[in-house]
Structures are given as C-alpha cells and as structure tokens.
Amino acid sequence: MADEVPSLAESKLTALVVDDNFVNQTMHHKLLDRLGIQNDVVCNGQEAVDVHCSGRNYDLILMDMEMPILNGIQATKRLREMGIESKIAGVTTRANEGDKKEFMEAGLNDFQEKPLTISKLLSILHRLDFYVQT
C-alpha cells in the first residue's frame, strides 16, 4: 500500500492541522507527511489564528470542529475575516446536518468525516484542486 501512495512533495504544498486530540494530531500529521506535504500542528482554533497572525500561511488547513478556547467554526470565521484564503477542510467525527451547514457557512471549502484515511485525504486534495487523480 505504501508504494501506491502518490507523493505531492514536488508541489511543495503546506498544511496546518488544527485539532485538540493528540491521537488525531499524530495521525493527520503522518498522513500529510506520507503524501509529502509539509505540515504544522496546533491544538485549537485560537492557535490557528495566532499562527497566521505571526505571518505563517498554508495552502491547506485541516480544521477540527469541536475544540476548546476557539472551536473550528469560530476559527474558520476569524481566519476568513482576516483575509486568509487558504483552502480549509473541516474534519469532524460528529456532525449532524445542522452542524455541517454551520461549519460550511463559516467559510470551509470542503468537509470530511473522521477518521481520516489516505484515500479521504486524497479526495479532499482532489476536490480542492491540489491533486489530479489518475
């Protein structure tokens, strides 16, 4: 399976993982690494906002919905208000249609249910035009 995973290292994509769960942080970081996407990890929406305030920018943000201090919906709204145009994909284990609608309306480009897998991540990248599936 490892041999079949495409490498996007040449595209020099960067990503930010925003999740308060250490297991998910580790998994998502590794998933992105495996695809050759350089990535950073923060623990909540406030840290995601702070890292952008410090001048960092990313092609893709994987945003968890439920987080302490500043949740994914609030963080997405704040980033869009700041003029951040990165592609933001909401990821969550638990979203009824109402929550999903609210999350999308906050400014997401895509939404995916956890747990994330290589193929779900490739789907996100494909839908956001970062990767052409062959």
Partner: protein
C-alpha cells in the same frame, strides 16, 4: 530453525489480529494505522497506540471522578470527554470502545446518571480488554523482531 520461529510468531500475530477483527474489537481503520508505519517511523503503530492509552486513561479517570461526585451535574463535560474518546478510538480503529463510548454519550445527553455510571463501566471494561490485546500484540511483534534479528548472515 530461526526462520520457523519468525514464521510461527508471524502466524500468531496474524491469528490474534484476525480474532480481534472478527470480534469487532478492531476495524479497518487499524489497517490504515499500520499502513502509515514506514522506515521513517518504524514504531508508529506502537507510538500512536501508547498516546491513545495515555490520553484515554486521563479521560476515563476524569469521567470516574466526575460521576463519583455526589454533587455532579456537569453532563456537558462528560460529553466533551466522550467526544475525545470517540474521536481517538475511531482514529485507531478501536471499534468496540468507540461504540460503547457513543452509547455512554447518549446517556449523558439525557442527563441519565445511572445510565452514565453503567456506560462508564462498560467503556472501562472494553478499554482494558483492548489494552490487554494490544500489549499481547506488541509482545508478539517484539519477539518476532528479536527472532528475525537473530539470523546468521548468508
């Protein structure tokens, strides 16, 4: 002879995993976890599972403390802890733990204290079973690696 030891251990590992999948203890997400292990992170599965154990035990301790408190009424906090457990259990493929956490969460959403106490007992039981099985798996894997390492060069 040494090769047979490795093969036998590998067969034991395969049998244990098959059993865990068959019992519904693990699901296909565990295979994803295994697929992420590579030469740059050769102990990835072990590392992630140990993070899961550390985090889960903190959450379970907190849940027990909350529910043992006679004045307890913070069902929202129970829900937040369970969201964490559901999330991380899903991520590693711990299907049965995830499912019993979801059931526990339903009781907390109804502010059902007896239901929550029962839910906690079930989650603790499933969690400890998973932990024991993972320890057995890691022990077999370690024995297999040791057996594979004790080879005379060709």
């Amino acid at each position: 002879m040494l090769g047979l030891g490795v093969d036998r251990l590998q067969a034991d590992i395969n049998r244990l995993l098959t059993s865990l999948f068959h019992q519904g203890v693990l699901d296909e997400q565990f295979l994803q976890l295994q697929q992420l292990q590579d030469e740059t992170s050769p102990t990835f599965v072990y590392d992630v599972i140990n993070i899961y154990f550390d985090e889960s035990e903190k959450l379970l301790r907190s849940l027990r403390l909350l529910l043992m408190d006679r004045e307890f009424s913070d069902y929202k906090k129970i829900g937040l802890h369970l969201n964490q457990l559901v999330g991380s259990s899903s991520s590693i493929g711990a299907r049965r733990v995830r499912n019993v956490c979801v059931a526990f969460r339903s009781a907390s959403e109804l502010n059902n204290r007896p239901g929550c106490l029962r839910g906690l007992e079930v989650v603790e039981h499933e969690y400890h079973y998973l932990k024991n099985m993972m320890h057995e798996l890691f022990q077999l894997e370690q024995q297999r690696l040791l057996a594979a390492g004790v080879r005379y060069p060709m």
